[in-house]
Amino acid sequence: MQTAVDTWTNSTTAPTSARLLEIFRSMMTARLLDEKLAALYRAGKIHGGVFLGKGQEALSAALGQALRRTDVFAPLIRDGAGRLAFGETVVEALRSCLGSPQGPMRSRDGNVHRGRPRDGYLPMISHLGAMISVVGGMLLSRRLRGRRGDIGATCIGDGGVSTGAFHEAVNLAAVEKLPLVIVVANNHYAYSTPIEKQTACRSLVDKAVGYGVQGHTADGTDIVDCCKVIGEAVNRARAGEGPQLVVAELLRLCGHGEHDDANYIDRRLKETTIGRDCLDVARETLQERNIMDAEAIAQLRAEITREIESAVQQVIKEGGPDPFAHDWCALATRRLADPPL
């Protein structure tokens, strides 16, 4: 699928055609996959909720693309695009969303709570902010064992930054000068709660000063700006400049989950630049820069749609877990499992 070529991301932060194309492909795949998931949800084919990333693909994919496969990545709710850019396949994403026992979480966890820790891809727990310090610990471990050059990256929202876990973890990462990039998607709402009820800061990037870390802002609807700003933050982290806080402004162009019509979002905000659809902006950018023309984009779209359709068929065939044959031991050390009652 996507192969990140290191020379693209290391040498420069410039949004080269190759990088933009990779990011765009992940964005498009994520959008089409999200649409498929929404349809499956409405058809009653999905257990639990569906949480989509519509409007946040540029930011998320720019991060996933800027990372190396040896880095650590802890994405969050709206990072379908970043996950794909970091190397997750459509089949793998669908396995968790449809509960296939062949997925990395083996039906034990689902939807956005998926990852492969051995590959540096961390599965979030629901509790917002909790994964940041875990990424930090992985980086600390690598430092202690003399493995250098890797960075960690993690995502959070304008609501998640209000948690104690966020505060503790960012402060600790700053104290230890860990090579960590924290990307805040400020979509101005945490579920229904507007940003004014989360923070009294003028801008969330002001928090960077308080933690003693470098702060960056990005237009989350613009693929070029996301690519540039995140590339810069990643390079600085890799160069040993310590944690980098990136705050991107955008809007969530969907409900909090597919159960939510998001009628609380201020209409006036939707008419500003942050209300733009980053996929439309990216499409225009690629055309303007002669990276892809409309026909090539339509072809790509058709190709990805076919890939998703066949992945859905495959994963549905995989079925669900057998609860009676399931291994109900929560410990790696089986002899220490409490005897079943």
């Binding site: 990395p104 034990r108 940041i132 875990v134 992985m138 471990s141 973890a169 929560a330 050390t333």
Partner: protein, 321 residues
């Protein structure tokens, strides 16, 4: 020369740092200062990279240790007091405890909790939280009561591939001494019969073991012989050893310093009622702390927590003597 329970914990950590490059000690003031109780005294001098001071951030401390553990280290987190581990509770219970089940990747993490009451400790420096952690799947919970166990179980905790909550008792830190450090050979998950007797079984752990031993000594003068079980590990719970003992004595008392509601004592009684009801000659009993926050004044505290006096009364009622 004698060695205290606290020395044993320090020596276990020294041994671990010496023999295993993967061991990392992380916590507040654990570095050159040597920890609030001096459980890491002298270690940072020898292992400066692997004995690290942390900010006052229990959530991030545990989160960091989880990350380090899944990346191949064997971190030991020192909470300054067990009571403050509630700030890191989410990471312990929801992240560390669920991680292996969710991903198949083990989290070999040890969290040391300086637990239990001491005179004047008050509501927030005295708690015994073993039942709280035992409630969550995916965690092993140890409660050593002897100098040997403090040493050997801590070493074992670090070799276990799962998160271990190591509840060490602050009262025992200085009060409990042994002449030599005899490594314990019983593995985690196995209770020890600390005293054999025919008349009643008393199940206990941690500092309460010593209160119960005192009661047994006193009752021996009256020709009453208590059998005492030191659980050592509260999760997993060695139900087999308890049932076998109750089969011999027909009577059961549980004595624990923690609060009563949903605690280790309640769990043992539930299991024995379920699996060994026919063995019982009397209703099983328990002695726990009172269901209030832990009082500051020593006169209140001495009544709040179970002690030899209240345990003796409960044994008499159990035996109807």
């Amino acid at each position: 020369m004698s060695i205290t329970y606290l020395n044993a914990i320090r020596e276990a950590q020294r041994h671990l740092l010496e023999t295993d490059q993967r061991v990392l000690i992380y916590g507040q003031d654990v570095g050159l200062f040597g920890g609030a109780f001096k459980a890491t005294k002298g270690l940072a001098e020898v292992f400066p990279d692997r004995v690290m001071d942390a900010p006052i951030s229990e959530d991030a401390i545990v989160g960091t240790a989880i990350g380090a553990a899944i990346e191949g280290l064997r971190p030991i987190v020192e909470m300054q007091f067990a009571d403050f581990s509630t700030v890191g509770f989410n990471q312990i219970a929801n992240n560390a405890g669920a991680f292996f089940w969710r991903t198949g990747v083990p989290v070999p993490l040890t969290v040391r909790l300086p637990s239990g009451g001491t005179s004047g400790g008050g509501p927030f420096h005295s708690q015994s939280l073993e039942a709280v952690y035992a409630h969550y799947p995916g965690l092993v919970v140890m409660t050593p009561a002897t100098v040997s166990d403090a040493y050997s179980m801590l070493i074992e905790a670090v070799t276990i591939d799962d998160p271990v909550i190591f509840c060490e008792h602050k009262y025992l830190y200085y009060h409990l001494k042994a002449d030599t450090l005899e490594p314990e050979t019983l593995p985690a998950g196995k209770a020890r019969i600390a005293r054999t007797g025919r008349d009643a079984t008393v199940v206990t752990y941690s500092a309460m073991l010593h209160e119960v031993l005192e009661v047994a000594k006193e009752l021996a003068n009256e020709d009453v012989e208590l059998e005492i079980i030191d659980l050592r590990t509260v999760k997993p719970l060695d139900t087999d050893t308890v049932i076998a003992s109750v089969a011999r004595t027909g009577r059961l008392l549980c004595a624990a310093e923690a609060w009563p509601w949903g605690g280790v004592s309640a769990e043992i009684i539930a299991r024995i009622a379920n699996e060994g009801f026919h063995l019982l000659d009397a209703p099983p009993r328990r002695v726990n702390a009172k269901d209030t926050p832990i009082p500051y004044h020593p006169d209140l505290w001495s009544i709040h927590r179970p002690a030899a006096r209240s345990i003796l009364l409960a044994v008499r009622e159990l035996l109807r003597i």
